[in-house]
Amino acid sequence: MAEAKDFKFIGSRPVRPDGVDKVTGRAQFGADLNLPNMLYGRVLRSPHAHARIKRVDVSAALAMPGVYAAISGADFPGAKHGDIGGEGGGDVADVAKNVMARDKVLYHGHAVAAVAATSASLAEAALEAIEVEYDVLTPVLDLDAAMAADAPLVNENCFTKNLPEPAEKPSNIAAVMNLARGDVDEGFEQADVIVEGEYRIPMVHQGYIEPHACTATVNEAGQATVWTCTQGHFSLRSQTASVLDMGIADLKFIASEIGGGFGGKTVIYLEPLAVLLSKQSQRPVKMVMSREEVFRASGPAAGTHCRIRLGAKKDGTITAATAWLAYEAGAFEGAPMGPGAMCVFAPYDLENFRIEGFDVLVNKPKVAAYRAPGAPQAAHAMESALDELARELSMDPIDLRLVNAAQEGTQAAYGPKFPAIGLKECLEAAKVHPNYAKPVPEGAGRGVAVGFWFNAGMESSAEVHLNEDGTVQIIEGNPDIGGSRASMALMAAETLGVPYENIRVLVGDTEASGFSAVTGGSRTTFATGMAVIQACEDVIAQCKARAAATWGVDEDQVAWEDGQAVPVPGVNAELKPLSLADIMKNAARTGGPILGRASLNARGAGAGFSVNFGDLKVDDETGKVDVLSYTAVQDAGKAIHPAYVEGQMQGGAVQGLGWALNEEYVFDADGVLENPGFLDYRIPVASDMPMIDTQIIEVPNPSHPYGVRGVGETPLCAPLAVAANAVRDATGVRVTDLPLSPPKVLAALEGA
C-alpha cells in the first residue's frame, strides 16, 4: 500500500525527455520516413455502402508504367476464425475482411484493392485502371431500422449471440447482453418519483490530427519491417501476422511517434496492405491515408440509441433503474455495448436494475475504441436522466449523486464489490469548488455530470540498464502519446533515488523490448509504470549485491537510500555510501553490466471517477451554444506528472464538448459520408473554448506501488451530459439528442 509519504520526484513537472525533438520538428511520425527505392501505395475504395463483389481485376493497373504491385482480396490467405489477439477487437476473419473486402463491400470507402507505384500520382492514376464489378445491395444505415426483424441484412450469416435460445434467423443484431439485480418492478413501486429519457447520438470520430501512415519493406527472405504510427506496435504485429498468416518472427514493427490515437490506432488498416505490396514489388512501400480516407475508412465511435428509466424516493435514493442501450457496430460485430452496459450505472449503489445492450450491424465503417469505448454514450443518457431526476426532486445535482454514489464495498452494477475508489471525494471537492460557488452568468446554464471508466492492467515489459557513468536507460514497449516517457522516468527516479535528468526512456520496437499491450485503456502509467518500478527494484538488488561484494559484507547488511548503497545500522559505519556511478565504475570487477528487467500482467487497475461541471450560454435567436467555463475534478490515485494528468482531463473535456456540440457523421441516403473533412466535421478550435479548470483528487490505488490509477479515458465520459444539462438549465428545454447543433437547439426552443 503506497503510504502517503511525500515523494522526491513524483508529483513534479519536469520537461519530458523526448520534448526537444517534438518542438523542433525532428521527431519522426508515421509519414515522415523516406527510404531509397520507395514506392507509394494507394487504396481503391468502394463507391457503394453495400454490394457483392463479382469481379476485381488489377491486371490493367499492374501493366501501367511505374506500377510495381497491385493486390485485392484474392491476395490474402483465407481468413480463419478465432480471436485476433491484442486489442483489435473481434474476430480475425472480420478484421481481415475490414482490411480488404473479399466477397462483399460493407461500407462506402471499404478497401477493395491497392497498388504501389513510383509516385503517389501514378498510384492514383493506376487505381482508375482497376476493374471492379459490383452487385449493388440496399444499405442498412439507421440503427433502429437495422434492428427491425425484416431489415435488409448486412451479414447473412450473423446470428444473434447470447440469446437465451440459439437464434434461428440471421439478424443485424450481432449480440445482446443483460445485466440485472434485484426486483426492478418492486423498485419502481416504491419510487416517489419516476423519470424517463430517450437519447440518440450519431457516429463520431476520434479526430486525431495525424492520418494513419506506415511504411513496409520485405526482404528476399520474406522478413518484413513495418514503421507505423500506432498505439500498440506489438498488437498490430500480431494482428498483421494473423491476417497474413505470417510467423510473428518475420514481422518487425517499429512504432514511430504517434500523432494522436484515442483508441483509433489500436487496429490495423494499412499495415497488411503495405507488407503485401512490398512483398510483391520487393521495394519499400509507403502508405498514408488522406484525411477523407481517415473519416470514411478508419474506426469511428459507435452511434447509439439509449433509453433510461429511474425511480427514486423523495430523499433522492434511487429505488429502480433500467437502461436499454443500442450501439452501432458498423460493418462487423464488435460495438462497445458490453463496456457501455457495464458503465451506465457503475458510479451508483443500486439495489434494483436491469440493463439490456445490443451490438447492431449497419453499413458504416467498423467502429473502434474511442477513449472509454461505449461509456461516454451511456453516461450521456444516465447523467441526463439524473439531471431530470434532480429537477423533479428539486435537489442540487451533486447532492443527488452523493446520495447514490458508489464507494468502497459497494456492489458494482457490473458485478464485484468496489475496492477503494474516489467518487465521493470528487463529488465533495466539486461541491466546494470556487467555480461551483460562482453564480451562473445571465443567459447561461450549468450542467453537472459524473464520468467513470474501469481502467485496464494487461501485459507490460520493461528493462532498466545502467550506463557506465551510472546514468539510466529505460527500454519499454508503449508508444508515448501523452507524455508517458516523462512518467516512466519520474517513477524510475523515485524508485532508484537518482535525478530525473539522468534518465532516458526508449520506446523499443518489437525486437528491442519485451511484449507490451497497447497504449490505451488508461493503462500505460499504471501497468508499464509497474514494470519499470519492478525493473528498477531488480537493479537495486543487483547494486546491493555489488556493494556487499565491494565491502566484503553480506547482502542483507546493505540498504538502499537516496540512490546509494549504504551499510545497514550496526555494520561498519565508516563504509562510504556507493552511488550508481561508484558501483558502475567497479561493475566490470564485481560481475559486469547491470541490467534490471521485469515483465508482468498488471493486477488491480484502479477505477477512475470524475465529476465535471460547466456553464454554457445559448443564443436563443440562433440556437448557438457557447462554453463560458468548464471545471473537471478527477481521481488520479497519484498524479505522477500532474501537468500531463491535467492535459488528459483538459483534452478529454474539449473532445467531449466537441462531441456534444458540433461533431457528427452526416450520411446521405446511399450511406456516403457527406462531411469527411475538418471543414464540415467540426472539432472544437482554440477560439471555441475557455480555459479548462482542473482539480486532481488523489485516493491512492492500493494495488500500485505509488497509488497510480489510469486517467486517460475517464475525461471523455462526463462532458457530453455536462453540455446537455447546461443547455437544459439555460433554456428550460431538454434536448435529448446530440449534437446540440444550432438548428436542433433553435427548433427545440421554438417547439417549447
Binding site: R16, V23, T24, A643, V654
Partner: protein
C-alpha cells in the same frame, strides 16, 4: 509533364528544386527536401499542421504551390531554433506541457512566432482567434494558450 525549376530560400539557406506544376509546397518540403518537421493533417487548409512562413506571412504549406516559392523566403519549424538553442516559444511549450502527441506542435510554434511578431503582448482572445486555424485534439488548448502568454512575456522582457 515538364517540371518547373524553383529557386528559393528555406530557413536562410538558398535551395533549388524541381517540382510538378500542381505539387504543393508541403509535398516538396516533406518528400523531396526531407524537411519532415512540417506535418500534413488534412491537405485542405483546415488543420494548420503544415503552417510555415512565406515572406514572413503565416500560411498553410498545403495551399501554396511549390512553384509559388520562387524567389520567396520560407521559414519552417526547422528554422525556429538557432545555434544558441531553442527559441523561447519552444521552451515555453515544453515547460507548460503544451503538447502531448506533438503532431500539431510544429505548426503551433511557427504560428505563435508569427503572432508574437505582430502582437507582442496578445490577450487570451487574440491568441485563441489567431491560433483557431491550428487544430489540436489532445490538449484542449488550455496549456497552449498559457505557453504562448508566457513566451510573450519572456520575449517582451528580452526585447
Amino acid at each position: 509533364m515538364s517540371k518547373l525549376h524553383v529557386t528559393t530560400s528555406i530557413n536562410g539557406d538558398p535551395v533549388e528544386f524541381l517540382t510538378a506544376p500542381e505539387q504543393t509546397l508541403v509535398d516538396v518540403l516533406r518528400e523531396q527536401l526531407d524537411l519532415t518537421g512540417t506535418k500534413e493533417g488534412c491537405s485542405t487548409g483546415d488543420c494548420g499542421a503544415c503552417s510555415v512562413l512565406v515572406d514572413g506571412r503565416l500560411v498553410c504549406a498545403c495551399l501554396v504551390l511549390a512553384a509559388e516559392a520562387e524567389g520567396a523566403e520560407i521559414t519552417t519549424i526547422e528554422g525556429i531554433a538557432t545555434a544558441d538553442g531553442l527559441h523561447p516559444i519552444q521552451e515555453k511549450f515544453l515547460e507548460h506541457a503544451a503538447l502531448q502527441c506533438g503532431i500539431c506542435t510544429p505548426g503551433y510554434i511557427v504560428a505563435t512566432k508569427a503572432l508574437l511578431e505582430k502582437h507582442p503582448e496578445p490577450d487570451e482572445e487574440t491568441i485563441r482567434y489567431w491560433l483557431a486555424g491550428n487544430l489540436c485534439r489532445c490538449t484542449g488548448y488550455d496549456k497552449i494558450v498559457r505557453a504562448v502568454q508566457d513566451a510573450a512575456t519572456t520575449l517582451a522582457h528580452e526585447a
